[in-house]
């Protein structure tokens, strides 16, 4: 069982979105989480001045599935069709550390005690990193909701934050009611529908073209970034080399022995730096791309809903014409057409606002992360240089 509650680290971790806890009237965070056999229990902590809540401060335990339920109910809500709905946090994925643990178990006999201890240490660190990441991404999801003027008032959101019983009953009911209808529809047909729509509005035409292309490119970039950061296993090799050097050192005369031991030490230190280099790149670059791939999809979903509304409006026009021709149910058709137009206009208006602020948000997040990543890489490289040069000096004088 692992738990997390360091605040300073979390501040650095919150990289993918700009600080969302600006409004003191509703402040949400996940100060603690427990990991039991890959099932994570998040402690959702709320501080609020809003009267809609029963208490000013409270905490509830929540599972990943509860977050998904909340996301889905928001997606299914008609009134929110004009908003970009914050993407659901991905399921906690402990596959990496689990695989490593397996490898560790297999290779135990072929390693020295020190190597084994080091790898175990690394494994624990990796586990912790995955853990921290999943906490962060769940936290950001809630904070996106709390900082949005409409979502923060959502009834289900309030239930999620406040309800001190198990949510699993509600989750089951929701599944039965909607059956994931909207979700599935969005997934399958959006590309075709969005590109098929005849766009009058210059803004939306541009956005559509941009989002369709960008979503493909960012998905690819995310995949390649994941592959790159996953293959950054240099630290492991340095660990083995360090161990092997220490091994070799044992049998030598004093001078050379010291030399080899010093080298082993260099590799050990380099290992730590390489490790940090790889994990920082993962956090700042790969996580960023992952998050925005999901967010871009959420923006596309908005476009889809608007496109559907436009299609509905066009259909209602056709129906009205037919009704007028037949001379039957004209009033009803007129009313229907009016409503469709209203809905479409509402979606267009809020959609425009949402997409504009989305772009701003995206640019700020990329800037922040790219700067932070670059500064960290420079820092680590400088560390490596000074440690290597120091060792070279010592070895030369030996």
């Amino acid at each position: 069982m692992t738990s997390i509650s360091e605040d300073s680290d979390k501040e650095k971790m919150r990289s993918v979105s700009v600080d969302l806890n600006n409004d003191a009237s509703l402040v949400i965070d996940i100060p603690d989480a427990l990991c039991e056999r890959d099932k994570v229990k998040f402690t959702v902590h709320t501080k609020t001045t809003l009267s809609s809540f029963q208490k000013p401060e409270f905490s509830v335990p929540r599972q990943h599935e509860d977050f998904i339920w909340l996301h889905d109910t928001i997606v299914e809500t008609e009134e929110y069709a004009g908003f970009i709905i914050p993407p659901a946090p991905p399921k906690p994925d402990f596959e990496g550390p689990r695989e490593k643990m397996h490898k560790l178990g297999e290779g135990e006999s072929s390693m020295t005690k020190e190597e084994y201890a080091k790898m175990k240490q690394e494994l624990e660190a990796e586990y912790l990193a995955v853990f921290k990441k999943t906490v962060q991404v769940h936290e950001v999801f809630l904070q996106r909701l709390s900082s949005h003027p409409m979502f923060r008032k959502d009834r289900n959101f309030q239930i999620f934050l406040e309800y001190d019983q198990d949510l699993s009953v509600r989750r089951k009911n929701a599944k039965e009611m909607f059956g994931g209808f909207f979700k599935n529809m969005v997934k399958s047909a959006d590309e075709v529908l969005i590109s098929g729509v005849k766009e009058v509005d210059e803004f939306f035409e541009q956005e559509k073209n941009f989002l369709l292309d960008y979503s493909i490119k960012i998905k690819d970039a995310t995949a390649k970034a994941e592959k790159m950061t996953r293959s950054h296993k240099i630290a492991d090799d340095y660990n083995h080399i360090s161990g092997a050097l220490n091994n070799t050192a044992a049998d030598n005369n004093t001078a050379f022995k010291k030399h080899l031991e010093k080298c082993a030490e260099v590799f050990e230190k380099l290992r730590k730096v390489e490790d940090r280099m790889a994990s920082d790149q993962e956090l700042k670059l790969t996580e960023l791309l992952r998050y925005y791939t999901r967010d871009i999809q959420a923006a596309k979903d908005l476009l889809y809903r608007r496109a559907r509304a436009l299609a509905d409006y066009e259909n209602s026009n056709k129906a009205l014409d037919k009704a007028r021709l037949k001379g039957k149910d004209v009033a009803q058709a007129e009313e229907n057409q009016k409503q469709c137009l209203q809905k479409f206009d509402k979606l267009s208006e809020s959609g425009k606002k949402e997409l504009t602020s989305f772009k701003a948000r995206r640019v700020v997040a990329f800037r922040k992360n790219l700067i932070e990543m670059t500064e960290l890489e420079i820092k680590h490289a400088k560390n490596s240089v000074s440690l290597l040069q120091g060792s070279i000096e010592i070895l030369k004088s030996n």
Partner: protein, 450 residues
């Protein structure tokens, strides 16, 4: 120290079907032995990886022979047999020796040698010197797969890398061989370095790494079959043998770790390049101008970094991995001479046993009054007394030689490792400094996103 590409000029090799292959009478197993044409390559002169310093054992003069090996055959060969095709081509290496030593006839000489010539040289040296306890540096391994790709004119990166790997290995082999004071003076070595024509190596099968291994194993078998276990009066030998056993295990492990490092760095380089391309595409797609520019710059940085990883992995390989591989093979040679010593001891013991038998036989004949048989027996005793003395002398000589050889080996090993470790650490420093440079150039671009 990244190797530059050696290019095969296309005219020399027709990559079409396999033409008739001349059977090499010397070696039926060696499919690729026969020569039809020289392969022309373009590659600049390279610095030897192990540079020689003065070696007091050879000569008081400060400049020792420097041997450069590079492959370049500027002129197409005249002796071109029948229908030329890739499979029958062979690689020729130019061996350049610069020296001030008087045992060489010229102070600068350049010869062309085939891979099998190197194997032939090693075989001769091993058969001459191993039984005396000299550590004869092993020749590089044969590689049918690697060589085939080169022969059929495959110009891809892997065959270029293979040629460079082999050239480098051959160079290290020669440098080690001439560093040995006795081997340097050997007429076969001198002939190899100097004479323009060299008789074709007799049997390449026996010259393969496997062949030498067989020879070494035969000695080991002889040792195992010894009926009387050697009574090691000299603790030094027992200690050293154990040390070399340990060293063997340790170096193999270290070598495996470094090979893993080389592989992972190469993989990282490939994945970084792939990401760079993807980031460039993303930058193109991005409609915010400043962010788009920054992403394109990021792509460029990542591309440079991928090249950096690749260069570093070459350093990993050529500096450390290959050296470790060489030492693993060298230790096999060292273990071989220890076995040769045991063989010598066994021979001596056997002679003593035989002498004893002859003495007993003579004693019996004393009472049989057969004068000619007695004379024969006495003669035989004298013969075997001589053999016993020779056996003892040989054993003592090989023991002395081994002590000296091992001392020299240890000194060289320590020196080699120190030099290489230093070079390697400096290569790591260089890589990190480049990384700093690239990221520091990118930082203002990232900050410029508005």
């Amino acid at each position: 120290q990244s190797p530059e590409a050696a290019r095969l000029s296309a005219e020399d090799i027709s990559p079409s079907s396999n033409g008739p292959r001349d059977d090499d009478p010397d070696d039926p197993d060696d499919l690729f032995a026969e020569a039809t044409e020289e392969v022309s390559l373009d590659s600049p002169e390279r610095q030897p990886i192990l540079s020689d310093g003065p070696s007091p054992a050879i000569t008081p003069v400060t400049i020792s022979p420097r041997v450069d090996v590079f492959d370049r055959s500027p002129d197409l060969v005249k002796h071109r047999l029948s229908s030329c095709d890739g499979m029958n081509a062979y690689m020729v290496y130019k061996v350049m020796t610069k020296t001030s030593l008087s045992i060489f006839s010229r102070d600068e000489v350049c010869v062309k040698r085939r891979f099998s010539d190197f194997l032939g040289l090693h075989s001769k040296l091993a058969s001459k010197y191993m039984h005396m306890g000299y550590i004869v540096p092993p020749a590089p391994e044969k590689s049918i797969v690697g060589m085939t790709k080169v022969k059929v004119g495959k110009e891809d990166l892997s065959s270029v890398e293979f040629v460079e790997k082999r050239r480098s290995a051959l160079e290290r082999y020669l440098l080690r061989t001439v560093k040995h004071p006795a081997l340097l003076k050997d007429p076969d070595v001198l002939q190899f370095l100097e004479s323009s024509e060299l008789p074709r190596a007799v049997s390449t099968q026996a010259l393969s790494g496997a062949g030498i291994l067989r020879m070494v194993n035969k000695a080991a078998d002889a040792v195992n079959k010894m009926t009387i276990k050697m009574n090691e009066s000299d603790a030094w030998f027992e200690e050293k043998q154990q040390q070399f056993e340990n060293l063997d295990v340790q170096l193999r492990k270290l070598h495996a770790s470094v090979e893993s490092l080389v592989y992972h760095r190469k993989e990282l380089s490939v994945n970084t390049a792939s990401f760079a391309k993807s980031a460039a595409m993303l930058g193109n797609s991005e409609d915010h101008t400043a962010l788009s520019r920054a992403l394109s710059q990021l792509a460029e940085v990542e591309e440079k970094i991928d090249q950096l990883h690749q260069d570093q992995s070459y350093a990993d390989f050529y500096l450390i991995s290959e050296l470790l591989g060489d030492y693993v093979r060298l230790i096999t040679a060292v273990k071989g001479v220890f076995d040769q010593r045991m063989k010598a001891w066994a021979k001596w013991q056997d002679a003593q046993v035989m002498l004893q038998r002859k003495r007993e036989a003579e004693a019996k004949l004393q009472y049989a009054s057969k004068p000619d048989k007695l004379q024969q027996a006495t003669d035989e005793i004298r013969e075997w007394e001589g053999k016993v003395q020779q056996g003892e002398r040989d054993f003592e000589q090989i023991s002395k030689n081994i002590r000296r050889e091992v001392g020299r080996f240890e000194k060289d090993r320590v020196k080699d490792f120190r030099v290489v470790i230093m070079k390697y650490l400096e290569s790591l420093v260089h890589t990190q400094q480049q990384l700093i440079k690239y990221w520091e150039a990118f930082l203002p671009e990232a900050k410029a996103i508005a």
